[in-house]
C-alpha cells in the first residue's frame, strides 16, 4: 500500500514545489527585482553618459573667456534688477543729453516671455520659457538728436531692451517730450 502511495506523493510534492514556490517566486520577487535592476542599470548608464557630457561641457565652458561669461550674465541676468537698470538708463540719458523722469513698472505686462502672445507689446519668444519680462515706462525730454542718441544707446545696450511703445510729442521750443516703454528680460 505504501509503495503505491509513495510515487503519487512524490509527484504531488514536485507539483506543489513548482506551483507554490518556484512559479510564485519567479513571477513575484524575482520579476520585481529584475525590473528594479534593469531600471538601475539604465540609471547607471545615464549617469555614465552624464559624467561624459559633464566632462565635455566643462571642457567647452573652459574655452569661453571669463569676461564673455560675465557679459553673458549681464546680458540676461538672474533677476530683474530694475533699479540698477534705471540708474544705467539715467546715466545713458545724461550722456545723450536727455532728461529722464517718471519711471513706472507695468506689472500687468510681467510674465514669461515664452508666451507666444500677439497682444500689443507682448513680444513673442519661443522656447521652453525660462525668460521673464517686465515693462518699464519712462518719460523723457530733449532734442531729437539727443533722443536718437539715447535710443541708439538703448538698442545697443548689453542688456537687451526692446522698445515696445514710443510716443513723441512736438514742442515749439525744440525740446520734445517722449514717452517710451521698454521691455526688460531676465532669466528665471
Amino acid at each position: 500500500m505504501m509503495s503505491r502511495l509513495m510515487p503519487i506523493l512524490l509527484v504531488a510534492f514536485a507539483i506543489a514545489v513548482v506551483l507554490m514556490y518556484v512559479r510564485p517566486t519567479f513571477t513575484g520577487p524575482i520579476a520585481d527585482t529584475k525590473t528594479k535592476i534593469d531600471s538601475y542599470v539604465s540609471a547607471l548608464e545615464a549617469a555614465d553618459r552624464f559624467q561624459a557630457k559633464e566632462a565635455e561641457l566643462t571642457q567647452a565652458k573652459a574655452q569661453i573667456a571669463p569676461e564673455s561669461l560675465e557679459r553673458l550674465a549681464a546680458f540676461l541676468p538672474d533677476n530683474v534688477d530694475n533699479v540698477q537698470l534705471i540708474l544705467d538708463l539715467d546715466a545713458l540719458a545724461a550722456r545723450s543729453g536727455v532728461t529722464l523722469s517718471d519711471f513706472n513698472i507695468n506689472d500687468d505686462a510681467s510674465g514669461s516671455a515664452s508666451n507666444n502672445s500677439n497682444g500689443s507689446g507682448q513680444l513673442a519668444l519661443t522656447g521652453s520659457g525660462p525668460v521673464e519680462s517686465i515693462d518699464l515706462t519712462m518719460t523723457a525730454s530733449g532734442s531729437y538728436a539727443s533722443f536718437r542718441s539715447f535710443l541708439s544707446g538703448i538698442e545697443q545696450s548689453l542688456r537687451p531692451l526692446d522698445v515696445t511703445n514710443l510716443t513723441v510729442t512736438d514742442s515749439a521750443s525744440g525740446i520734445y517730450a517722449y514717452t517710451m516703454t521698454v521691455r526688460i528680460y531676465w532669466l528665471k
Binding site: 529584475k34 532734442s143 536718437r148 537687451p160 510716443t167 532669466l187
Partner: protein
C-alpha cells in the same frame, strides 16, 4: 452408485496428461511498472527540489545584485554636483534665449532712419506714436502738416513706394490757420523695419527718394537732421513738391 453419475473430481487431480504451459505470474510486470513510476516520481521530486534550490539561490543572487546596483547608483548620484548642473542649464538657457532675444530685438532706429529719408522737406510731424506688436510688426500714428496738397500727395507716393510701410493712410486732412495742410497718418511697419534679426531685402531697402537732409544754411546749422522731422523747414521749399 452407477458410473453414469457425475462425480466431482478433486481439484488436485489433473484432468489431462498434456502438460500445460506455465503462465507468467501477473504480479511481476505490475511491480516493475510500479518501480518505474516510483523512480520517475523520485526524479521529478528531485528536479523540483533542485529547481526550488536554484530559484532560491537565483533570488538571493538578484537581491545581492540589486544591493550592489543601489550602492553604485547612490555613489553616482552623490557624484552629481547640482550647482554644476544648474550652471550648465543656466548657460544653455542664456545662450539659447539670448540668441532669440537678439534675433527679435527691437531696433526702432532703423525706422527713424527710413522715416527721415522718406519724409519730404515741406512736411513736418507734430507727434508720433509707435506700438510694436508681438510678431515684431508695428503700428505708427503720425500727425503733421504739409505745405500744400501737392506736397501731401508726393509724400503719400513716397511712402507707398516703400513696401515695408504698409497701409499708409492719410486722414483728418484739414487746412490749418497757417494755410498748411494738416493730416494724420497711420501705417503698419514690416518686421524688417523693427526687428534687428530681420534683414531687409535689396528690393525693399529704403532708398532716399527725395533728399530730406537740408543743406546747412545760416538759419539751420544748429538744426539736426532729426529735428527736420518735427519742425517746418522753410528753406528748401524749392527742391521738393
Amino acid at each position: 452408485m452407477p458410473y453414469t453419475n457425475l462425480v466431482a473430481i478433486s481439484p488436485g487431480i489433473p484432468t489431462s496428461f498434456v502438460p500445460r504451459q506455465s503462465t507468467p505470474s501477473p504480479t511481476r510486470p505490475q511491480r516493475a511498472g510500479r518501480d518505474y513510476f516510483f523512480m520517475g516520481a523520485l526524479v521529478l521530486a528531485g528536479l523540483a527540489v533542485v529547481l526550488a534550490a536554484g530559484t532560491f539561490l537565483y533570488e538571493r543572487y538578484l537581491t545581492h545584485s540589486l544591493e550592489t546596483k543601489t550602492a553604485e547608483l547612490s555613489q553616482a548620484t552623490a557624484n552629481v554636483n547640482e550647482d554644476t548642473v544648474r550652471d550648465f542649464v543656466q548657460l544653455r538657457d542664456r545662450l539659447a534665449n539670448g540668441k532669440m532675444l537678439l534675433t527679435n530685438h527691437v531696433m526702432l532706429s532703423q525706422f527713424f532712419d527710413d522715416l527721415e529719408h522718406l519724409t519730404l522737406q515741406n512736411v513736418r510731424y507734430n507727434s508720433l506714436s509707435v506700438t510694436v506688436a508681438g510678431d515684431r510688426t508695428a503700428k505708427i500714428v503720425l500727425s503733421g502738416t504739409a505745405k500744400n496738397f501737392n506736397t501731401l500727395a508726393a509724400q503719400s507716393t513716397v511712402l507707398a513706394g516703400d513696401k515695408r510701410i504698409k497701409r499708409a493712410i492719410f486722414s483728418n486732412i484739414t487746412i490749418t490757420n497757417t494755410n498748411l495742410v494738416g493730416f494724420k497718418l497711420t501705417a503698419d511697419l514690416d518686421t524688417s523695419l523693427v526687428a534687428a534679426g530681420e534683414t531687409p531685402s535689396a528690393t525693399q531697402a529704403a532708398t532716399p527718394i527725395v533728399p530730406v537732409i537740408p543743406a546747412p544754411t545760416a538759419t539751420t546749422t544748429t538744426q539736426t537732421v532729426g529735428a527736420a522731422l518735427f519742425r517746418a523747414t522753410t528753406t528748401a521749399a524749392t527742391t521738393t513738391p
